[in-house]
């Protein structure tokens, strides 16, 4: 059995190699003000919010669902946290935890809304989550009053811009949630439940799995992780922008899941593949900035790379080539024998 991680890892390696050729110092990591400093660190740090959301998205997609509202949840929690902190004392820990707590409750409520629409009311996931995708950004702008909220809070900014033992704190956050998610899904039966619900919800229910509950939980989980991403993004720039925070993250997250070798048909999921997928997307973005691709063509460059990655992974595309090769080999053989 070929490892699903093979092609995503090759893609990531090729991208990094291209950067190394363009710029020989790309891998160099120096120490600046007591923390590590370099492009690779940037990529990890910048990919953190996307990785978190993609973990949640992987579970949702594994149940054959999709969550379009993640970007809006990002902007809601960022806005709420910044609003509460701006009202209180920025350096106080109790204000910080109140802000994080209330914002996460909002994220959970958003997830519960999605989950109920999909599991209880049986609305198509793409439509059910579209509602919050549109409305959520409005909610975020209501919270910030349409303005960009700027805050100066040392403890809050540590989440997205702080360093612990020389590495960005956000990396620890994703490591933490990745380990929890892996253990939860691979060492307990939860992962199996999710996969079985994704394969056939009715059969799973008849087999004794509470399909509705599982579906509900994955949406709540996805919103929860998006909420934490919201903290990372807004604390990184110490401001909340209801209009732009997390814009188009839903598409990037879905892409990360797909590039990571997951099928949108659900039933199976590869968490590590998703992580690599998210890293590929961020590496691509960072490469575009550092190689100086003109802004008018960046989207084209991005889409070409994504297309190539998808083609490589497509079985149908691969089999066309395999068939051709077989034909050629056969012809060559005949040529030799003739």
């Amino acid at each position: 059995m070929k490892n699903k991680l093979f092609w995503p890892l090759v893609t990531l390696a090729v991208l990094l190699l291209a950067n190394l050729i363009h710029n020989h110092d790309f891998f160099s990591i120096t120490i600046q003000d007591g923390h590590l400093f370099g492009s690779l660190i940037d990529i990890l740090n910048r990919a953190a919010p996307l990785v978190l959301i993609s973990i949640g998205m992987t579970f949702v997609i594994a149940t054959k669902g999709i969550d379009l509202s993640v970007g809006s949840v990002v902007s809601i929690t960022g806005a709420m946290a910044c609003l509460i902190i701006s009202k209180g004392d920025g350096s106080s820990m109790s204000v910080l935890f109140t802000a994080l707590g209330i914002s996460l409750l909002l994220a959970l409520a958003a997830g519960a809304w999605n989950g109920l629409l999909v599991s209880l009311l049986g609305i198509q996931p793409i439509v059910a989550t579209l509602i919050l995708m549109v409305a959520g950004r409005g909610v975020a702008q209501l919270i910030t009053d349409g303005q960009i909220l700027t805050i100066s809070s040392k403890p809050y900014s540590f989440i997205g811009a702080g360093y612990l033992f020389g590495l960005p704190f956000s990396i620890y956050i994703i490591a933490f949630f990745f380990i929890i998610a892996s253990v939860l899904t691979r060492k307990t039966a939860v992962g199996l439940f999710i996969e079985s619900v994704g394969t056939n919800p009715t059969a799973s229910r008849l087999a004794g799995i509470r399909s509705g509950l599982i579906i509900f939980i994955v949406y709540v989980l996805c919103s929860f992780l998006s909420g934490i991403s919201g903290f990372i993004l807004s604390s990184n720039v110490s401001s909340a922008d209801g209009n732009n925070a997390g814009l188009w993250y839903e598409l990037d997250a879905i892409l990360a899941v797909v590039i990571g070798g997951n099928s949108l048909n659900g039933g199976r999921f590869y968490l590590s593949g998703t992580i690599v997928g998210a890293l590929i997307i961020q590496t691509l973005t960072t490469s575009i900035y550092s190689m100086g691709v003109p802004p008018e063509v960046t989207l084209v460059v991005k889409s070409v790379v994504v297309l190539v990655v998808c083609l490589i992974q497509s079985e149908a595309f691969g089999s066309v080539f395999a068939a051709r090769r077989r034909k050629r080999d056969k012809a060559a053989k005949q040529g030799v024998s003739a």
């Binding site: 710029n23 940037d42 720039v237 922008d241 209009n243």
Partner: protein
């Protein structure tokens, strides 16, 4: 049954509208005579209250909110009766609002077009009703310029030129190349295109000034910071020193400043920073020495709009294109200007 309801509702509405418009009629009838009188007798009647219908785009940004507030406040101050409508970024809402202004027979209509095209019909209706129209902030692409009296707004190319001129002056005694990095606005947007154009037009007068890196930061802090991080690393690898940052708006500049500080580069000292718009946060940063120049893009066009509206009603000639009063703020003005910032 339903039909009876419907028709009685329509009837009620019609009656109300006739009543309203009748009131409006007498009112504006008076006004028309008073404006005529002004023409002959001089300025005795100019304090007559004029009615201005204003159709705003929406409340999509802090800039826009400040714009709205300025218009509302200055209408009150100028004694203008303001009828305000918020189009929520939809053209059809704006057209509806303008039609209702025409029906109410306001003295002047002003609006910021959501989009450039598709205004001819409704503007013609206003013209036929004899109501002058003033455009604010954004233009229409109508070929018939007689459809509106005046266009009050910023000139983004000029803003770019102002930034360029300051830099040209700042660098006139500088020897050797000056490396400029640019954070562009959203690709394809008018401010991004025009601010780049105006800036390049001026700096090409000095061959030492070169834009070495240019990338879009989508007018946001997060993207501005992310792009700047990548710029810092690649500049380091290429051994180029970044001397100047030219950001197409304040938010990107503020994001870039964070990236610079995290990389141990002192913004405002190791690298000159030019920013645009002039929001409060940027003036705060300039006061702290982190920004060297802010070219203002002023949303506070209320007082100017009221003046134009009064001039138009008084029958005076107004210029077709009026620029908003906008300043260029070097670092030493930051402390004095900061308390005046309203947005």
């Amino acid at each position: 049954m339903k039909n009876i309801f419907k028709s009685s509702a329509v009837l009620l509405l019609t009656v109300t509208m006739i009543l309203i418009s009748a009131c409006g009629n007498t009112d504006s009838g008076n006004k028309a005579s008073s404006t005529n009188a002004t023409g002959t007798e001089g300025a005795t009647q100019t304090d007559k209250k004029i009615t201005l219908g204003f159709a705003q785009v929406g409340a999509e940004s802090g800039w826009r909110t400040a714009n709205t507030k300025s218009i509302q406040d200055s209408a009150k101050a100028a004694g203008v009766d303001l009828k305000f409508s918020d189009a929520q970024q939809k053209q059809e809402n704006q057209i509806k609002a303008i039609r209702s202004f025409i029906a109410q027979k306001v003295d002047v209509i002003a609006f910021s077009p959501v989009v450039e095209s598709g205004w001819d019909t409704v503007l013609k209706e206003a013209k036929d009703a004899g109501i002058p129209v003033i455009l604010t902030d954004r233009a229409v692409d109508s070929s018939d310029t007689s459809l509106y009296k005046s266009f009050l707004g910023s000139d983004f190319v000029e803003e770019g030129r102002r930034a360029g001129k300051w830099l040209l002056d700042e660098m006139k005694d500088h020897q050797g190349p000056v490396n400029i990095v640019e954070l562009q606005g959203t690709t394809g947007s008018a401010p991004a295109i025009d601010r780049k154009k105006g800036f390049e037009e001026i700096i090409k007068n000095n061959p030492n000034l070169k834009i070495v890196k240019s990338q879009t930061g989508d007018f946001t802090r997060a993207k501005g910071k992310e792009v700047m991080e990548a710029f810092i690393k690649s500049a380091k690898a290429e051994n180029t020193k970044m001397d100047v940052l030219y950001a197409h708006n304040d938010d990107m500049a503020l994001g870039a400043i964070q990236a610079l500080e995290e990389a141990g580069i002192k913004p405002g000292k190791d690298i000159l920073i030019i920013s645009m718009d002039g929001i409060k946060d940027a003036f705060q940063a300039m006061k702290d020495g982190k920004i060297n120049l802010i070219v203002e893009c002023n949303p506070l066009m209320g007082p100017q709009l009221m003046q134009i509206a009064q001039d138009v009603v008084a029958g005076k000639d107004v210029q077709k294109r009026i620029l908003t009063n906008e300043g260029v703020f070097p670092q030493d003005t930051a402390e004095k200007e900061l308390p005046n910032r309203q947005y």
